[in-house]
């Protein structure tokens, strides 16, 4: 279950060494924006050693490499892939060709290292207008793509609009991303909320993303992780209801009924599908039946 993804600057040992303890389901070890150009070599080696040595068993490891228009991305992959991060995040992905270029490089590396194909998955970061327009093509460009991630800061600059807390300016992009990702059968992650001190705004923003269908949300502050995890977890009442739905269906089947209703409402296929999703999520989080009571 990956609800929260926490950005950690790749060249700051003090933060990296405690990254696994900050409550996030995944950490994004950042070699891109958080690292100045003359420290790319240092960050790459530090992140490699951190993944090799530290215990990240509590969370997934995602490494954000530098974009394809830099001189750094191949060296990033050469250094990082041998220590088997779960994901590579590719920033500024705008076309399916970007995914294919990165995928080919990863496939060759995996072969060279003797890794099984698709050991390392790819999460394109979509943060340009062209990327949003191509979201479905990007999501389906390679089998390696397992999730899309929307980055609103760069996107709004590209859209020539202001980034606001209300986020009206990214409504279309958010919707488009969710539809593209779901159509492609991959997960989809929302942009971070950047005001570290506004917990209420953070929660509202996360609720909005959840309502639109996002799988989870990234964060630049450990203080936001708990909120994101809470918002993107099923509530105990939802879990109990999901079990009731499946029970009613099972009973209906046993009694040979065609249509089943619960609490005066017909249970149709979408309700059953949602109940199954809720239970899968609850099981992944270790939440059992009846714990709401």
């Amino acid at each position: 279950m990956r609800r929260s993804m926490l950005f950690l600057p790749g060249n700051t040992p003090n933060i990296l060494i405690n990254g696994a303890y900050l409550g996030a389901d995944a950490v994004i070890l950042d070699l891109e924006d958080a690292v100045s150009p003359d420290e790319k070599d240092a960050a790459r080696i530090l992140v490699r050693n951190a993944i090799r040595t530290l215990d990240f068993s509590r969370c997934e490891v995602i490494v954000r490499i530098n974009s394809l228009d830099t001189d750094f991305w191949q060296a990033d992959l050469d250094t990082i892939v041998p220590c088997r991060p779960h994901w590579i995040m590719l920033p500024k992905t705008a076309r399916s060709e970007d995914v294919q270029r990165c995928d080919e490089y990863l496939t060759a590396l995996e072969a060279k290292l003797g890794f099984a194909p698709l050991t390392v998955r790819l999460m394109p970061l979509i943060e340009t207008a062209l990327g949003v327009e191509n979201a479905f093509a990007i999501a389906t460009a390679a089998k390696r793509v397992g999730a899309l991630f929307l980055g609103a800061e760069d996107l709004t600059a590209d859209l020539q609009c202001k980034r606001t807390k209300a986020s009206r300016e990214i409504e279309y992009a958010r919707g488009r991303m969710v539809v593209a990702a779901r159509a492609a059968g991959v997960d989809v992650y929302d942009t971070p909320f950047t005001d570290v001190n506004d917990a209420e705004g953070m929660e509202a923003d996360a609720r909005c993303a959840k309502a639109l269908g996002f799988t989870g949300k990234a964060s630049i502050s450990p203080r936001h992780v708990e909120i994101i995890n809470r918002v993107f977890s099923p509530t105990l009442a939802e879990i109990d209801y999901a079990y009731e739905v499946l029970e009613a269906i099972a009973q209906g089947k046993a009694q040979g009924k065609g249509a089943v209703s619960l609490r005066g409402k017909m249970i149709d296929a979408p309700i059953v599908a949602r109940a199954r999703q809720t239970i899968a999520a609850a099981e992944a989080l270790g939440l059992g039946k009846g714990e709401a009571k």
Partner: protein, 468 residues
């Protein structure tokens, strides 16, 4: 009649101070205190020597004490806390006699029991009248509570008040009454307000501190103690304050009305009082100006003496009624013994203060400490110094999990079923050593440089010199 004498020298002479006597000081002016150095210099100039200095705490502003130790003016130190600069010199062997460390409750208890008689108490007071009624609540050097000084005033044979703010008789709202005072001295300034109020009493922004604070608040939430009438003490460290802030959110959300907040009081505790989390604050010491102002203005904010706070020999003390205390540690061992006296190299850099008093009294005593600091694991096989015995510690909270003292199995079950990550304390040690490597064992020095005396007067541990 007036008790005001013309000079500090006259006050010392009138007190009849002689070689080998004991003088005492309080630490409410903290690292801004001018009075201890001023008095000791005057005593040195008078040629008196071989003195015992009994101070409720010593800060690095008191480094001139080292000169008086070297010249023989001071031969013994008794204190509850010693900052790192002084501590380093003591650990290196600056004194022939071991320092006697007590607790904030044990100090007045040993005065009352006659174990540590005080000949002359020198009490810095931010406001005082000509007969010695004095208070910390008013004046340019206001420091709030004078809780620790109350013991000195009560038990010393001779009491000198030193003030920079003489007010007309009678001072209203006194903390120490004229009945206990022999003379009053006025000086230009008793302290530097910037050092009086420690600037470090802020909520942490450190992510690890916030994770620990969140765990700590949830431990309290699920301890079974968080209900109407709840009482609470926390330190002034960043993670402890963050824990208090998270606790406040839980109390307001669940509409829990606590009974009192205790201790060294910060603005965060004042906020909790004002928000309705507590009915009262019991204040032995103010840690910031907001606490000073609240003590002055709000009748629900009550000043208490060190005896009332923590003494084991009074008929009762507030710590005996305390539900939860959050404390710090430099080291914790696998038997839950806590060190707050020395750093990981064995140098003195602290002291119990109220640590072991509150740990002994509270129903739930919780240590917050990171898994490791600067590559040194917090959990060790055996702490360098036992400041608070493990029998009085219930829970250790780290970012990598929460260890519950095995004596408290029911609490462990409660916390586990609330979904908190409960781990064996030995697993925390192994996890930390997996990251840091196992530190080489440091040889201890030959000499005993300090005795750690428990709140009930027993020798709890000894601190040895550092000879590297």
């Amino acid at each position: 009649m007036t008790k005001v004498v013309s000079s500090l020298r006259e006050a010392i002479e009138r007190a009849g101070l002689k070689d080998g006597m004991t003088v005492s000081f309080h630490h409410h002016l903290r690292n801004g205190d001018y009075v201890l150095n001023m008095v000791m210099q005057e005593i040195a100039d008078l040629g008196v020597g071989g003195l015992t200095v009994n101070a409720s705490s010593l800060f690095d502003v008191h480094l001139p004490l080292l000169d008086h130790i070297q010249s023989g003016v001071v031969s013994t130190l008794q204190t509850d806390y010693m900052a790192a600069g002084l501590g380093r010199a003591i650990s290196r062997g600056a004194m022939a006699n071991p320092v006697q460390f007590r607790t904030h409750g044990g100090r007045p208890a040993d005065m009352a029991r006659g174990v540590t008689p005080v000949d002359v108490a020198f009490i810095a007071a931010p406001a005082c009248d000509c007969m010695g009624n004095c208070s910390g609540k008013f004046g340019p050097s206001a420091c709030g509570s004078l809780g620790y000084a109350m013991a000195d005033a009560r038990y010393a044979k001779h009491v000198v008040i030193i003030t920079d703010h003489l007010v007309p008789y009678p001072l209203q709202g006194w903390s120490i009454p004229e009945t206990e005072v022999d003379s009053v001295v006025t000086v230009d300034s008793i302290g530097d307000p910037k050092g009086i109020v420690s600037g470090t009493t802020r909520i942490t922004r450190d992510p690890v501190g916030l994770v620990m604070a969140s765990y700590a608040a949830r431990v309290i939430e699920h301890s079974g103690l968080l209900k109407d009438g709840f009482s609470f003490q926390t330190g002034a460290g960043g993670a402890s304050l963050a824990a208090a802030s998270f606790l406040k959110d839980i109390m307001l959300r669940d509409k829990i009305r606590g009974s009192f907040g205790l201790g060294g009081i910060t603005g965060y505790m004042v906020d909790m009082l004002r928000a309705g989390c507590f009915e009262k604050l019991m204040d032995v010491q103010c840690f910031d100006l907001q606490a000073v102002e609240s003590l002055r203005e709000d009748p629900r904010h009550q000043e208490i003496s060190a005896m009332h706070y923590a003494s084991p020999v009074t008929k009762s003390a507030v710590v005996d009624s305390l539900d939860v205390v959050i404390l710090g540690a430099t080291e914790v061992d696998t038997d839950f013994n806590v060190n707050v006296h020395t750093d990981s190299n064995g140098y003195i850099m602290g002291g119990s203060g109220g640590h072991s008093d509150t740990a002994a009294g509270a129903k739930l005593s919780m240590i917050i400490a990171p898994l490791f600091r600067a590559r040194l694991p917090i959990v060790t096989d055996r702490v360098h110094c036992i400041s608070t015995p493990g029998k009085d510690i219930d829970v250790l909270v780290t970012q990598a999990g929460i260890a519950v003292n095995p004596k408290n199995g029911e609490l462990a079950d409660r916390l586990r079923s609330a979904g908190l990550p409960i781990v064996d304390i030995r697993a925390l040690k192994e996890k930390a050593e997996g990251l840091t490597g196992k530190p080489a064992h440091l040889p201890q020095g030959q000499r005993v440089v300090a005795d750690v005396i428990s709140r009930d007067g027993q020798l709890l541990d000894q601190i040895r010199s550092v000879e590297r």
